[in-house]
Symmetry: C2
Subunit: 440 residues, 2 copies
């Protein structure tokens, strides 16, 4: 396993993320994820990521270490003007040469400030320093230039930590240079299948034959990326010539899709709300949402998709029995007899919101998110319902986990029920799978 992420080779890249804030847990590391996704998406392989504090010695050690693993190293952060920006000094230390002032860079920095109507602050000229053996890299989006140098055959780039500046410098300079050096032949071809509400081990059982085939093929790899309510199955082939890699990949994808059936909602990172929205727009149909335990999460997910207003009319969050009756026409007698956590309540909510708001489809959630029991039912007891053209479906669930997880899974179940209803797909199959389904 992980054969495709082995160090070495012209397509191997390592990343050093510089910044105290990352070690303090301040910020989720968006630069690392973006670099990994972008470089991988271009057929390159990120083989190592290290996070280093704003410390000259530690950064130098990290760069020297990962330079032994990859032909290219990208160091992000620590090239700004303040005294805690020490990446340039660390690179000078790593390659054993002095820091020098680059006159061209000094001029460009001065011009950048002048063209933005500002005087040049004294510390800004620190950004014109570079190791004597290095070259400067133009920053299309900010004042801090990047740095490029050679370390025993590995090319090291220092780029800004500000996400917009990092992205533009990587896209415009770093990535084209790496790809030019690599050539087309060694790049990795890959596709991911997005599987909804099926546990990783259930997915693995279905893919046993595909996996057995891949196990005997050193050019192919399969990886599972589990998220709440969602497993991405990533199939990769690294083989020459590239058209053979693509043909092999296509064959694996077709077989994996056949084994996973309707539980595959799409490919290459597509999200469940986006799939549902596309189905509705294609059918020229609309939806409205009635929510109890998810509290707006289903509507929020659907409207997070650009263009949602083409299909989403609105929704009602009914967190009390009164609101369920007053705005969704749920029978007060039903609520009095059974409480709000009941499949028929979910069905009436879906029908009520569909009629009150006027939409082709109504989708509803009710249940207990926890941490406490409610209506005599334990946390995780959930009913989701869909009401639409010639269609009424209710899915009853016993979801695991804490409040956040139960709500996340309930949103996914509501959207998946709607997906299958709009697409005319059956509900998920046999008992063993629906157990697993409940387990994730």
């Amino acid at each position: 396993v992980s054969r495709l992420l082995a160090p070495g080779g012209p397509d191997a890249v390592a990343v050093v993320l510089v910044g105290d804030e990352l070690l303090l847990g301040a910020v989720a590391d968006t630069n690392g994820a973006w670099l990994a996704r972008t470089l991988t998406g271009s057929g390159l392989r990120v083989v190592d990521v290290e996070v280093a504090p704003d410390d000259e010695q530690r950064i130098a050690a990290a760069v020297r270490r990962v330079a032994g693993l990859a032909r290219t190293v990208v160091v992000s952060g620590g090239i700004g003007p303040t005294s805690d920006d020490v990446t340039r000094a660390a690179l000078a230390r790593a390659c054993g040469c002095a820091l020098v002032r680059d006159d061209d860079a000094g001029r460009q920095i001065s011009e950048w400030f002048t063209s933005h109507g500002r005087s040049v602050p004294e510390p800004a000229l620190r950004m014109a320093e570079r190791p004597a053996c290095a070259a400067m890299v133009v920053n299309p989006h900010g004042s801090a230039p990047g740095v490029r140098l050679d370390l025993a055959g590995t090319t090291v780039y220092a780029v800004p930590g500000v996400p917009a500046e990092l992205r533009s410098m990587v896209r415009s300079v770093v990535l084209p240079a790496i790809l030019a050096g690599v050539g087309a032949t060694v790049r990795t071809a890959s596709t991911s299948l997005e599987v909804v509400l099926l546990g990783e081990s259930a997915v693995a059982r279905r893919l046993a034959a595909v996996e057995a085939d891949i196990d005997t093929d050193p050019t192919a790899e399969l990886a599972y990326l589990a998220r709440p309510a969602h497993v991405s199955v990533r199939l990769s082939v690294r083989r020459e010539p590239p058209d053979q890699a693509q043909a092999r990949l296509d064959d694996l994808v077709v077989r994996a899709e056949a084994a996973l059936g309707a539980d595959v909602m799409g490919r290459d990172g597509v999200s469940l709300p986006a799939v549902v929205l596309r189905l509705l727009v294609e059918a020229e149909q609309t939806v409205s949402v009635a929510e109890s335990l998810t509290g707006g999460g289903v509507a929020e997910a659907l409207t997070s998709v650009p263009g949602a207003s083409a299909a989403v009319r609105g929704g009602v969050v009914a967190y009390t029995g009164e609101v369920k009756s007053a705005l969704l026409d749920v029978s007060p007698g039903l609520l009095a007899a059974h409480g709000a956590v009941h499949p028929e309540v979910a069905a009436q909510m879906a029908r009520g919101v569909r009629r009150r708001i006027g939409a082709d489809w109504g989708v509803a959630t009710t249940g207990v998110a926890g941490p406490d029991s409610a209506d005599g039912q334990p946390p995780g007891t959930v009913h989701v319902a869909v009401d639409g053209p010639q269609t009424r479906r209710v899915r009853t669930l016993n979801l695991p986990g804490d409040r956040v997880r139960i709500r996340t899974l309930a949103v996914a179940h509501a959207l998946d029920l709607l997906r299958r209803s709009v697409a005319g797909l059956p509900e998920p199959g046999n008992a063993r799978e629906s157990e697993t389904r409940q387990g994730r």
Copy 2:
């Protein structure tokens, strides 16, 4: 700078994040950020983070390297049942002993599956393996047990990569054990102030005097952790004896809070929805929500807080003009004359939902999330409104960024307007700041 992040010392912790998916950029690394934040919040110091692929040799090398920097190493991921879960084997390699089957762990795994009504899958028993020198760690939330071992004086923990399981194992086992080993004297005393909807540079301007003081004190540190709509200001002091550290910290906190005023919503990681909910519960008041561009996000945020049903009655997502009139009594004439993106529409939505659902407070959002303009207004044009006892407020905004960011900021503005209204705090002050406010 970075004075508090130097390696070594009993309070130093290093982290190895295992998983091909992290190097493929498939998932943003939430575990690393959570671990850093949680350990730092307990007075420990995370001095290194490395991301390693699902590869035995690479994980072993990473563990050996960071064990030289810290007294504790936390390895997350790679302890599940599938063939790409190789962390246990990597730890055996790192400490030079064999993998053995742990009988107690095998029984616990079997019981876990049985108690969840499932038969034990054959691969699950791989999770009962551990290096001969290691002990198992109970997983309170899942089937995969953790592992603990000693590597030349450094304690290494392997914990699950599934975030909920990682968090519960770290909270219940790993963190208490580290803290017990460290003792109180070397811990870093720290507090964070949670500042809402003010940019990092605006916060820094307000804290200039506090920062100048800290710059001359090698035992103190200030860090900004910027998130969307939210900056955490972390003040830390590492000094012996601990009561002196606490006294110095208390002084800094008081001065920083005075400088930041009503823009501080709370301390130590509190979230804006939790603050709003606490204020409502304390006042014994209720709220309902009317949303257009946020599509359910405000209601979702409020109901994400445990105990939300004590104050939240419900809401209406009105994504079309018809729904705004039919369910929220927004004047059709107003909509015809000005479109939906208008301050008076927000005000009528807030009043309408308050009356229709029957709550002390109504809060509403309308605007353009993008990517396209709507009603002749560009993305980012947003109005949020509150209607309550003797109170009507509207905040008009011109928000930057893409669809996700505009929606996130609009949710935060609606909740902040409600926070200030319920607490009787004034709207934010002068022009310079409200520019910055709009900028984040």
